[in-house]
């Protein structure tokens, strides 16, 4: 690994730490628009596009969380961006996300006792809570790690 690799990894890692909370806000805002607007059953093409966009974003964010990102960088830079402290942060974020998703499930179960909740809506809420919580936690831990560095 060269010094340039270390500098690149440092710069990209900091950028990732700054971007993660922004992605979380964007993702959860999109979630809010799903529930405030007409659902996909309305048959309007724009709603299908909105749902597809949410699904695509969910998959991309899941992949970022699972791999640490930096897909178009060299193997060396990726290894530095995802060294053992980062992996520990990701593991912690996944643990946090699991609890957030389970709490969402409990909430939806209770809600289901009083009014019917659609399967698609349930998936939407559980995925959004899980991914959103992981993004926030990962971003928070990474930002804290870079503080004073």
């Amino acid at each position: 690994m060269t010094t340039t690799d270390y500098e690149k990894a440092e710069r990209l890692g900091r950028k990732r730490a700054q971007m993660l909370p922004l992605f979380a806000i964007l993702f959860l805002t999109q979630q809010a628009s799903y529930f405030s607007g007409p659902n996909v059953d309305s048959g309007r093409p724009v709603d299908h596009i909105r749902i597809a966009a949410w699904l695509a974003m969910s998959i991309v964010l899941l992949l970022v969380l699972a791999t640490g990102g930096g897909w178009f960088r060299s193997r060396e830079v990726r290894a530095l961006m995802n060294d053992e402290a980062t992996q520990a942060h990701r593991n912690d974020a996944f643990r946090f996300a699991f609890f957030a998703a389970m709490i969402a499930c409990v909430g939806l179960y209770v809600l289901g006792l009083f009014e019917p909740v659609g399967g698609r809506d349930v998936i939407h809420v559980v995925m959004s809570c899980g991914i959103g919580a992981a993004l926030v936690r990962f971003g928070m831990l990474e930002r804290r790690a870079y503080r004073d560095a």
Binding site: M1, T3, Y6, A9, E10, G13, L80, M81, D83, E84, A85, T86, A88, E142, R144, A145, Y146, D148, A149
Partner: protein, 69 residues
């Protein structure tokens, strides 16, 4: 700092006049990882602890110890 674990990485690094970035390059991790270890936020793996000790020319026990010791 995890309960019961003391580390003297910062003192050893500073004693050898190394920056966090220089030490990070020597052991093949990011500067962030060195920073989190020094601040006691992250407990390194045995592998990384051994690499740090080798880079700083000391034993692992000199860098990390149990607080009651």
């Amino acid at each position: 700092m995890p309960e019961g674990l003391a580390n003297r990485l910062r003192e050893h690094r500073a004693g050898r006049e190394l920056t966090q970035a220089a030490l990070a390059e020597m052991v093949g991790v990011s500067r962030k990882t060195i920073n989190t270890v020094e601040n006691g936020v992250f407990v390194p793996s045995t592998t990384l602890a051994l690499k740090l000790a080798r880079a700083l020319g000391c034993s692992v026990e000199a860098l990390f110890s149990l607080e009651q010791d």
